[in-house]
């Protein structure tokens, strides 16, 4: 397995942090101290077996040492840098930052997310001020009655020879409009005071809130939990929109579970493996249902993305090492989009993430059309792509990215916009 070039740096940092001498570690791993020294300075590649031994000696998770987990963090850092224009960040040294200062790197990514959330919140508030029909109606009411009060009061005050009949008429109008003005002002104050919470105003996007919750749960639900609707979990989400998204997701998962009950599904899965078409055939279910069901299992370890006809991701369960774009459109080379354009025909493809040491995934994608309003209703499309770990030595893979801005693939025919990595790498 190809390893990140900076495994050595990481190894050195962790060894020093553990207070171990190079010679002792080398001896325990059965290599010479000078060889370990070369490895630590990234001048020798390390075999997976040696990584395992070294991880054991240092008491570390293998993945942490090999940098699997860091790939996502590197991707997030690059994405953060892509949003700063002009970027002053040393893009080619993102891996080094992650390996040497993982805490600072996490903090940077967390801050970047926070900035984006706040930007969205400002936009939401701005939209609210300029487009909210209630606010605009309330203001109009106040300004109208105020106009009337002002004009009428001025007539009463400034017209010396005002006919008594007219005068009493204007007094009546003035009284009526001042009542209206008071009511309008009260309504306005009540509206502005209503103070829906920060979460309600879009500080965190509802999708992010739901994804955070799913990530905390590890995306695993038992059939019993699904049948009960996980009400406590849903109630704990901060915004109404997030609760409604979560409810929809859970309702769908519960329906999927009824169509493909756990015992029978697990038995069939043991026979067929994660093959959505064969499983769909066995249960008379549609492949999209099977793919969602597969994604919410711990034994498959699959990532899943689903998009609608516009290509927008509507479901995104990450797979380790396969970065999904946080915002905006994904890589047009994903087999997901091939399947979207070719409904009813399965697409199976090996892909590797460009610029990430050639890590390979097996993807299975399927697209289908739906007519929820019948013959004359709109045609809806949806496509799904399972992201599965590839067998070692599976063959040539198509290099894809997460999204153009942070993709290292050179000379890509599908490129929409220049990559910020283009110059730096």
């Amino acid at each position: 397995m190809p390893l990140s070039t900076l495994t050595g740096t990481r190894l050195r940092e962790r060894r020093l942090a553990a207070g171990l001498r190079q010679a002792d570690v080398a001896e325990a791993a059965g290599i010479s101290a000078s060889y370990l020294n070369l490895i630590e300075h990234n001048r020798r590649k390390v075999s997976p077996e040696l990584i395992d031994r070294l991880a054991g000696i240092l008491g570390l998770d293998r993945a942490a040492l090999a940098g699997d987990e860091d790939a996502a963090l590197v991707e997030d850092l690059r994405a953060a840098a892509s949003r700063a224009t002009p970027t002053l960040a040393e893009l080619d040294r993102a891996e080094e930052l992650v390996s040497r200062f993982p805490g600072w790197a996490e903090l940077l990514v967390a801050l970047d997310r926070r900035v984006q959330m706040l930007e969205r919140a400002v936009e939401a508030l701005n939209d609210r001020m300029s487009h909210d029909p209630h606010l605009s109606q309330a203001l109009h009411e106040v300004l109208s009655s105020l106009s009337s009060v002002r004009a009428t009061a001025a007539i009463l005050a400034e017209t010396e020879d005002l006919d008594p009949q007219w005068a009493s008429r204007f007094h009546r109008n003035l009284h009526h409009d001042s009542e209206r003005l008071a009511a309008g002002a009260e309504a306005l104050v009540a509206y502005l005071d209503a103070g829906s919470g920060i979460a309600e105003q879009g500080i965190a996007s509802p999708q992010e809130e739901v994804e955070d919750w799913l990530n905390r749960r590890g995306w695993i639900f038992t059939d019993a939990e699904l049948a009960s609707g996980c009400r406590d979990d849903v109630a704990a989400l901060a915004s109404t929109a997030a609760r409604s998204l979560a409810q929809r997701l859970l309702a769908e998962a519960a329906a999927d579970a009824r169509a493909l009950p756990e015992t029978a599904f697990a038995a069939a899965l043991a026979v067929t493996g994660p093959d959505p078409l064969s499983l769909a055939d066995r249960f008379g279910a549609d492949p999209l249902t099977v793919m969602r069901r597969l994604a919410l299992r711990s034994d498959v370890a699959a990532g899943l993305v689903i998009c609608d006809g516009s290509g927008t991701l509507t479901f995104r369960k990450p797979a380790s090492g396969f970065p999904l774009p946080r915002f905006g459109a994904a890589c047009p080379l994903w087999p997901l989009y091939t399947a979207l354009g070719r409904p009813g025909q399965p697409v199976e493809a090996l892909v590797s993430i460009a610029g990430q040491g050639g890590r390979t995934f097996r993807t299975v994608a399927w697209g289908q059309m739906q007519h929820p309003q019948g013959l004359r209703g709109p045609e809806l499309r949806a496509a799904a792509m399972l992201i599965l770990p590839a067998e070692p030595g599976a063959g040539a893979a198509l290099p894809v990215g997460s999204s153009c801005r942070v993709c290292a693939k050179a000379e890509c025919p599908a490129r929409r916009e220049p990559s910020i990595l283009g110059l730096a790498l």
Partner: protein, 120 residues
């Protein structure tokens, strides 16, 4: 000849106050409370000036203005628009209004603007 002002305003009390103010200047004021008949009335009565509220039931002030400006017969009619918000002013300007008065206006302001607009 007496100046004829056609006033389009859906708030009855504002309309009443404006009628009073303009009439005292010796002008003839006719009034409509909604947007739907404005075009017919303008063609039939040939007013010297139109005072048009932006937010009207039936047909919005902007639609009326656009229709007036599109017709060669009414293209030159001076139009004064009553707006409540700054943002509307831009829209009214694009639609071809000659003057704007923001609510809440002062009576003296209305009279002065009418005088300036018809050159009297």
């Amino acid at each position: 000849m007496t100046l004829h002002v056609l006033l389009i305003e859906d708030e009855p009390n504002i309309a009443e106050a404006m009628r009073f103010i303009l009439s005292r200047e010796g002008w003839r004021v006719s009034h409509l409370a909604q947007g739907t008949e404005v075009l017919e009335r303008v063609r039939a009565d040939r007013p010297d000036l139109l005072i048009l509220d932006l937010m009207l039931p039936g047909m919005s002030g902007l639609e009326i203005l656009a229709a007036l400006r599109a017709d060669p017969e009414t293209r030159a009619l001076p139009v004064m628009m009553l707006t409540a918000r700054g943002r509307d002013r831009e829209l009214a300007e694009q639609a071809g209004a000659d003057r704007f008065i923001s609510k809440p206006f002062s009576n003296a302001e209305i009279v002065a603007e009418v005088r300036a607009l018809v050159g009297r």
